[in-house]
């Protein structure tokens, strides 16, 4: 009369504390990214619904058009920053010290993105696009602004990583987690660019 499927069979345990398949810092970041993806999905679907039901067309008449061409340059800069970070990761795994140059390049390109966007916002505000001027403006600042805050936050973490790297106490898992988050911030941008600007 043994139970139908037993977990009681004797087992052999030879690996006392196996290293986890995904380091904790990375796993935690991935879980966080799950929420982030869903948050952007919420914003994008709200945007799409509002845009689809706009009676006066989109963007609304009398509202400034978004600088799609200039932002394409900025998009490329952000994507290159992701490539630079990937490169930094590869070098880090081979020889830790070699990662410095691409790491700094990634940071610089990320910072360029933020500054470029800041300049763009100032121009748009001057042209009369604000959060209250139209749904178009409201969603633009909401979505692009939320992404911008992510870039700034991720850059702060990257600065910390750069500093630790310089001091020679950068844990591999911390660096990996930071990279994963940056790939997310970079990866979501082309989607936002296509939907909001084009």
């Amino acid at each position: 009369m043994s139970p139908p499927r037993s977990t009681a069979d004797l087992r052999v345990i030879d690996d006392p504390r196996p290293l986890p398949a995904v380091p904790s810092a990375v796993l935690g970041t991935l879980v966080f990214i799950l929420t982030e993806i869903m948050m952007f999905a919420g914003m994008i679907s709200a945007f799409q619904i509002t845009r689809a039901s706009a009676v006066l067309g989109w963007p609304p008449p009398g509202q400034p058009r978004l600088p799609a061409d200039e932002t394409l340059i900025n998009t490329i800069a952000l994507l290159l920053s992701g490539v630079a970070l990937f490169w930094a990761g590869r070098r880090f795994e081979r020889d830790r010290r070699e990662a410095r140059a691409p790491l700094l390049l990634a940071f610089a390109l990320g910072a360029f993105f933020v500054v470029f966007q800041g300049v763009e916002w100032v121009a748009l505000l001057r042209d009369g696009l604000s959060m209250t001027s139209s749904q178009h403006g409201a969603f633009f600042y909401l979505i692009v602004g939320t992404h911008g805050i992510h870039v700034i936050g991720a850059l702060c973490v990257m600065a910390m990583v750069v500093q630790r790297h310089q001091q020679g106490r950068l844990a591999s898992s911390t660096f990996q987690a930071m990279r994963v988050f940056w790939y997310f911030v970079v990866g979501v941008w082309p989607l936002l660019y296509t939907l909001v600007y084009l």
């Binding site: 009369m1 043994s2 139970p3 499927r5 037993s6 977990t7 009681a8 069979d9 004797l10 087992r11 052999v12 345990i13 030879d14 690996d15 006392p16 504390r17 196996p18 986890p20 995904v22 380091p23 904790s24 796993l27 935690g28 879980v31 966080f32 799950l34 929420t35 982030e36 993806i37 869903m38 948050m39 952007f40 999905a41 919420g42 914003m43 679907s45 709200a46 619904i49 509002t50 039901s53 706009a54 009676v55 609304p60 959060m131 209250t132 139209s134 749904q135 409201a138 969603f139 909401l142 939320t146």
Partner: protein
């Protein structure tokens, strides 16, 4: 045959472990057990506030316009604020912190056999943000205009436009508090999932994880996946309130129904977020006190994941009268009826676990059995609401209210008492008084049914929710409608039962007080002869939890195994080799 040598890994990010002052020890601790107690105490304090609110607005409904002892005359605006914040508190500041945060923190490291969460500092930050959110919410009751009164679902334009809700500050503080609370649980959830996946004792395979841990992990995943859109919605709502944007304002080209989608896309999975931990506690209790393995462990696990996925497809059943296309309503009717199947299955699994067990009817077991019985009523009435036809009538009546109290009360109150009474010896090292425990049990469960059964009837008779006084509605003041009672008599009955139930909570606090004052620690590490790893640690567990980190040799539910029976015991702990 090689065996594991348990290694004492030094986790260098665990902070320093010396004895420090009160502040460091209780308010600035990174120890998962201390953080669990912080969440527990805060959650229980919020429950007292939420219970008091219920008392005040129920008194108003039973005796409209009369001064409520302990509060005074209730104005319509106060009534709305009390109802709104009662719901908000009970879901976000009681059910979530107690079921997930307090028990998740206490149980996960102990049950998977490690010394702390993987990110102890994030864990501490999680509680601190949670405390801040509670303070923001409470302060919103005292600002100019009073607390927010636009219902816990915060539908715009009522919630967005201060000319409508008349609580310009209260409404914003309310959204800010909820948003902060979400951040706190995000940080907590990251810890729960990562710890359960990465810090298990050697030998513990995925199918050896106790159900309570699995359920909290799945609940955390559901929370993390569903809360994103609501965070987006909350930001948009705050902007509508403070920056004058018009995301949800039709006059500015916005769409108020959009909020309902963002809210309920989170709102429905959220009911499973709170349900699952309670189901997990019940699983631990009924196996221990019927001395039987959990029936169909793997099936339950797959079902939980399946339910989690399905729970993202039913949200619009809250919007059947919000002008959605009837063809869409059909689809959501079907998904809603589908999701009741796995829930029913889980109930049957628990009953099958009890079948032919040798049952001990102590206090935790009584709570667990009550959970199954009462939750069944809640689940079954959900099916009526899930069918769009009847729901057109039932929507926003007391039938809905009774439905979700027959689900939330078993989850948040009965489930919490399940966990508390069962793990109390582990938390404190002392056994609670059984007689007081049983008095408290019956004094809670009987009045609970007396409160809410009449509300089903009132809902059937068309009584709407969120109404300050029914005196002006002749058809809602009819005499002799049920068991000789008139509609107002039933309101009085429900209120009286609530007062009785609240009074019986004193018994619980007396019991807690008596136990804590007891001198000797009479529980021992394993008072129930249970199998899972927390019962290996001393009661209460010290810093680092285990004298020696354990190794796991089998699943957590090996009760009454024939091999062991031959040796004269009916349990087989996970940590024992032979």
């Amino acid at each position: 045959m090689a065996t594991a040598e348990v290694t004492h890994e030094a986790h260098d990010d665990h902070g320093h472990h010396e004895d420090e002052g009160f502040f460091k020890k209780y308010l600035w601790s990174v120890d998962h057990k201390v953080i669990a107690v912080q969440y527990l105490v805060t959650g229980m304090a919020m429950a007292v506030i939420g219970g008091f609110f219920a008392y005040v607005f129920r008194m108003q409904l039973a005796f409209p316009g009369e001064a409520v002892p302990g509060f005074g005359i209730v104005s319509p605006a106060e009534y709305n604020a009390l109802v709104t914040n009662h719901g908000t508190i009970m879901i976000f500041w009681v059910a979530m912190p107690v079921l997930i945060a307090a028990f998740g923190n206490f149980l996960i490291p102990l049950m998977v056999g490690c010394d702390d969460m993987v990110f102890p500092k994030i864990n501490r930050l999680s509680y601190q943000i949670f405390l801040l959110s509670a303070i923001v919410l409470i302060s919103s009751f005292f600002v100019e205009g009073g607390g927010f009164g636009g219902a816990w679902t915060a539908y715009p334009p009522l919630s967005a436009v201060s000319e409508y809700n008349l609580t310009p500050l209260g409404a914003t503080l309310w959204v800010v508090a909820v948003a902060l609370e979400f951040v706190a649980f995000l940080l907590g959830g990251i810890n729960f999932i990562t710890t359960a996946m990465n810090s298990r004792a050697p030998g513990m395979r995925l199918y050896d994880i106790p159900m309570a841990v699995w359920m909290i992990v799945v609940a955390s995943i559901l929370f993390m996946a569903s809360v994103g859109p609501l965070i987006a919605g909350a930001i948009m709502l705050i902007f509508d309130q403070t920056l004058n944007t018009g995301f949800f304002d039709p006059a500015k080209g916005g769409d108020p129904v959009l909020w309902q989608h963002l809210f309920w896309f989170f709102g429905h999975p959220e009911v499973y977020v709170v349900l699952l931990p309670a189901l997990g506690f019940v699983a631990e209790i009924i196996t221990t006190f019927s001395r039987k393995p959990l029936f169909a462990y793997r099936t339950v696990l797959y079902t939980v994941f399946g339910t989690g996925i399905l729970s993202f497809t039913v949200w619009a059943h809250h919007q059947f009268i919000s002008g959605i296309d009837p063809r869409m309503a059909h689809i959501f009717t079907i998904t809603t009826l589908l999701i009741s199947v796995p829930i029913a299955e889980m109930m049957f699994v628990y009953i099958a676990t009890l079948y032919k067990g040798s049952i001990t009817l102590n206090t935790p077991m009584l709570w667990a059995l009550a959970f199954i019985g009462e939750f069944l009523i809640g689940g079954v009435t959900g099916i009526f609401l899930g069918a769009s036809g009847p729901d057109v009538f039932y929507h926003d009546t007391y039938f809905v209210l009774a439905h979700f109290h027959y689900t939330f009360f078993p989850i948040a109150i009965i489930g919490s008492f399940c966990g508390l009474t069962y793990w109390w010896p582990k938390m404190t090292g002392k056994m609670m008084n059984e007689t007081l425990g049983k008095i408290h049990f019956w004094g809670t469960v009987i009045p609970f049914n007396v409160i809410f059964l009449p509300l089903f009837v009132l809902g059937q008779l068309g009584q709407h929710r969120r109404i300050y006084s029914y005196e002006g509605f002749g058809e809602l003041m009819r005499e002799d409608v049920w068991l000789g009672m008139g509609m107002q008599d039933m309101r009085v009955l429900a209120t009286m039962a609530l007062v009785v139930m609240l009074a019986f909570q004193v018994v619980f606090f007396v019991n807690v007080f008596i136990t804590l004052r007891k001198k000797e620690k009479d529980a021992g590490p394993n008072p129930y002869n249970a199998n899972s790893l927390e019962w290996l640690a001393p009661s209460p567990p010290g810093h680092g939890n285990f004298a020696e980190l354990p190794t796991v040799y089998r699943g957590p539910y090996e009760y009454s195994h024939p091999d062991r029976k031959a040796k004269g015991t009916d349990f087989w702990p996970q940590w024992e080799k032979e």
